[in-house]
Chain length 121, copies 2
């Protein structure tokens, strides 16, 4: 019931981005092939390719034409403090039975609250 099966290039990119930044995919580790990812998420190859392209553009992965796509050396993990607090939040959320989407919405709201509010009415 995670509910959210990625179905757009952005969502797929976000998925791998998370895997990389959270350390679940380590330096130099290989991502599935474009074709495989397309199958996995039941999308067109062009969509999976677009996702990979975005990741490369961000410097998160390195892609060589026939060698596959691998996590770029160095620029992988986010600071441990962030990861740990993310874990804490995830655990709290699941314990409380709050859906992932809700937790994300809360995080966004809290994030915006810290900064000088752009919204004014």
């Amino acid at each position: 019931m995670s509910g959210t099966t990625p179905s757009t290039a952005d969502e797929i990119a976000a998925l791998f981005r998370g895997a990389i930044r959270s350390g679940r995919l380590g330096d130099g580790e290989r991502l599935p092939t474009v074709r495989q990812t397309a199958k996995d998420f039941d999308v067109a190859q062009a969509t999976a390719a677009k996702a990979y392209k975005a990741l490369e553009h961000e410097g998160l992965v390195v892609t060589r034409t026939a060698a596959g796509t691998r996590v770029a050396p160095g620029a992988s993990r986010a600071p441990q403090a962030v990861i740990e607090r993310a874990r804490a939040l995830a655990e709290a959320g699941e314990d409380a039975g709050v859906s992932l989407e809700d937790v994300v919405a809360i995080l966004r709201a809290v994030w915006a609250a810290d900064q000088p509010g752009p919204e004014s009415h």
Copy 2:
């Protein structure tokens, strides 16, 4: 550089959802009118209306035709533990200079990691 200005019905709904679940919008508090929200985010009225509709469908808001849309009584705040940890994560993320989108991606990855993998082929 908050970057993400909501421009779709889903995103707008998510924004208010976060505001409500995080307690930034309390019980009975009134949301902007559909027309106002449409202006605020520079979208069509139908789009703002669709967002409100979704929120009502989730039971987060109550809407009476000429009295406006208000936060539904009771079903508002998420558990305090979740909110606090969300705050902690937000602070850690901003301190570390990690973007909101990245933090969200990490959260999603960590969340999925706890549960049995939905991947199946």
